[in-house]
Subunit: 431 residues, 2 copies
């Protein structure tokens, strides 16, 4: 499949958020539209990315990672936008992380490498596709996880049948009892590592991995759980090194979602192993940040990490969904034109941030915490408002989101805007 | 914008669920692919529509509506698939309901009329687009809701400025105190109706509408709340008729989501008004049905409605998402390759229905209720399994969904399959 040039991809009224009566426009010409959100040049709801905040966040994370001596392989599943992947790579990311082979397809169709599949590689289709890509493009660098002997054997069998000439490079995945994927114990992990050694030259072990982002509890408990998982991972790496299970003298230690990357780089930075260690952090949400769940996680990062505190202004929320007040049917209630189809609701409901009425104000004004979204239907949002609210039907409301991933996947088209809500570019997602 | 012929729309590896190594294929040629889900001809997860169930459901609803003397204007927001809209229209639907003007664009780009916007029409872009469409196509039949005097005045002003030659036809929306949009009282409604009369000849009142599907409580309480709302709607229609607020001698009474349409047609069928009544039911979920929330609603329909009971085999779930077992890291737990990005989770988690292993069985076997999904991450599902489960990594699991709307919007491509999971066609959605 040929590489897609995103600037040539044409957007038309079949995309949510693009006016039907506007001419079909290639993404590369979006700045020429001269549209402005506040002037209602687009239909609502609409999702926008604040360019200033996104650029700042990208630089902040680059600096933080560089100062930590680690590498960044941001999780692409968050945005699934090859245009944003490009930006991340240009801003210093080592590669892109993916969760599925469907996501890998998009990266490959946009020429992106290296790719770290932070997941098991299972299924005939998926395995064959990866092997085909490796065969087609010797320069393609690909990593995936394994957490079972059966998984290793399946990969080895497929690679052998394919006659793969250089091995599938895998990382051992570690997990938490009662948690998600990953070996639970050192003993389990060593069995898988031994199976990888037996699978040579078709599979080779190049590192150890975990995802620590799913811990629950109050901050101290979560921190301890993360630290425990990192220790387990280090113990496995130590033992694999001693058993000479690693295929080379440099290994990857990878962890770090968007909540505890500071703990990851701190602890992995102290590791002493008989092999070289390359630390790979995989945060996906840093680029756009958010207005709730990751906003709170970032406060914790700042409390824990002096490096983070010294890096100046930290992450700013870049992702907003704007909607219209469509009905105010009783005192204290406004319905907005934004629902479950438009914004995430799996980790807090959206936060009303600001409002705007063209003939009433020159710039959007902030909303207080007296304004809250209390529920979402598919296409409606219920907003509690003060009894004396100045809002009227037709007013614009800008919402912050909680959990960027589940907002991105609701938009195939998002606008990038400047500080005055002028459209400066457009991004397409692939979900 | 020219009408799109869906059979010519080309699907390639940039769509989730379509193999990257398969040739780009127009939707009209999907049957020629000779693919089978069980043979893993597609990557997983994948969403499929069972043709037999969908056809049956469509006929059942047509018959039920016909016997009730009502009309069906199915809610398009559920599937957002012009191909399925066509099927619904061919199977006797009067028109298509939409929730947003973004959804209207898709319908118009596929030549679909009449359209009932079961929502307020707000926002400069949205209003202008509707007026442009009405001006461009005199045959285009469009209806929307109003629930405020301000809303009516805004529409009237825009229509007047545009010089609209035939009026915007609107329905008065009624709602429940503490509920969503819609006038709360007869008095409020009559004020809006009076404003519509004043807005002649730019706006005209052609009916009364409500959405009764959001009531909560046990079945008897929900039924009573629905009945109360229908009574309010009838009272408003009665008063509007007496005040001669309606623009013609035939009006629309519209209600009916996918849960209480039987109550709607029963009660509205008994209405005696000084005007003719056309009953318009708007169920969106009947076509695919589901395996949880609407399955339960349908049991209640069968208990309430003799007409429904006499119609033979009722709705069958047509929508399934299939995924692979990717990890079994501890006893009693299997992780599957399906997450929040692939299936609805807002009204129950997905239901494991069946499993399949190619070298082990000829057809999928049912799973018992001992198998349950306990949680979803973005790209992972946590499945509780019996300690002695025969499942292995790599096995296929078929899941039923709860709430079709929030599963459809996670797929731009869905396969229609026969009873043996052979692909017979493909549908594209527009979210």
């Amino acid at each position: 499949m040929r590489k897609i040039e995103m600037e040539n991809v044409v957007i038309d009224g079949n995309f949510k958020g693009f006016p039907n009566d506007a001419p079909a426009t290639p993404l590369g010409q979006f700045s020429e539209l001269k549209w402005n959100l506040l002037a209602q040049d687009m239909p609502f709801p609409v999702a926008v990315l604040q360019k200033t905040a996104m650029d700042q966040n990208s630089v902040w994370m680059r600096d933080f990672i560089q100062q930590s001596g680690a590498f960044l392989c941001p999780h692409g599943k968050t945005t699934m936008s090859p245009q944003l992947f490009r930006k991340q790579l240009e801003d210093g990311a080592w590669g892109i992380t993916i969760a599925t082979v469907d996501q890998m397809k998009i990266c490959r169709n946009h020429g992106i490498s290296p790719l770290l599949l932070a997941n098991q590689l299972v299924g005939q289709q998926a395995i064959q596709y990866v092997l085909n890509e490796l065969e087609r493009d010797p320069a393609f660098e690909f990593y995936c996880l394994v957490d079972s002997v059966e998984g290793v054997e399946t990969l080895a069998k497929a690679a052998r049948q394919k006659g793969l000439t250089s091995p599938l490079t895998v990382l051992l995945e570690m997990g938490i009892v009662g948690g998600r994927t990953g070996c639970r114990t050192v003993a389990d992990a060593l069995k898988v590592a031994a199976a990888i050694q037996e699978a040579a030259p078709y599979v080779s072990l190049v590192g150890v991995e975990c995802f620590e982002g799913l811990v629950t509890g109050d901050p101290a408990i979560r921190e301890q759980k993360v630290r425990d998982l990192l220790e387990l991972l280090i113990e496995v790496a130590q033992q694999c090194a001693e058993h000479q299970y690693f295929a080379s003298d440099q290994i990857l230690l990878s962890a770090g979602g968007s909540a505890y990357y500071d703990l990851v780089v701190e602890r992995f930075g102290q590791v002493e192993l008989p092999v070289d260690v390359k630390i790979m952090v995989r945060s996906g949400c840093y680029l756009t940040h958010d207005s709730a769940v990751y906003k709170n996680h970032f406060k914790e990062v700042l409390m824990r990490s002096e490096t983070a505190r010294n890096l100046g202004i930290g992450f700013q929320p870049a992702l907003e969904v704007w909607a219209l007040v469509q009905s105010m049917p009783e005192p204290g209630l406004a319905l907005v034109t934004m629902g479950k189809r438009d914004v995430s609701f799996d980790a807090n409901l959206p936060t009303p941030l600001k409002w705007y009425r063209a003939d009433h104000m020159s710039v959007p004004e902030n909303l207080t915490s007296d304004y809250t979204i209390t529920a979402l239907n598919d296409q409606h949002g219920y907003m509690k408002v003060p009894l004396d609210t100045p809002l009227q039907i037709g007013d614009l409301i800008g919402f912050g989101v909680s959990h960027p991933c589940t907002t991105f996947d609701r938009w195939q088209l998002m606008y990038v805007v400047d500080d005055h809500y002028n459209v400066v570019s457009g991004i397409k997602t692939f979900f």
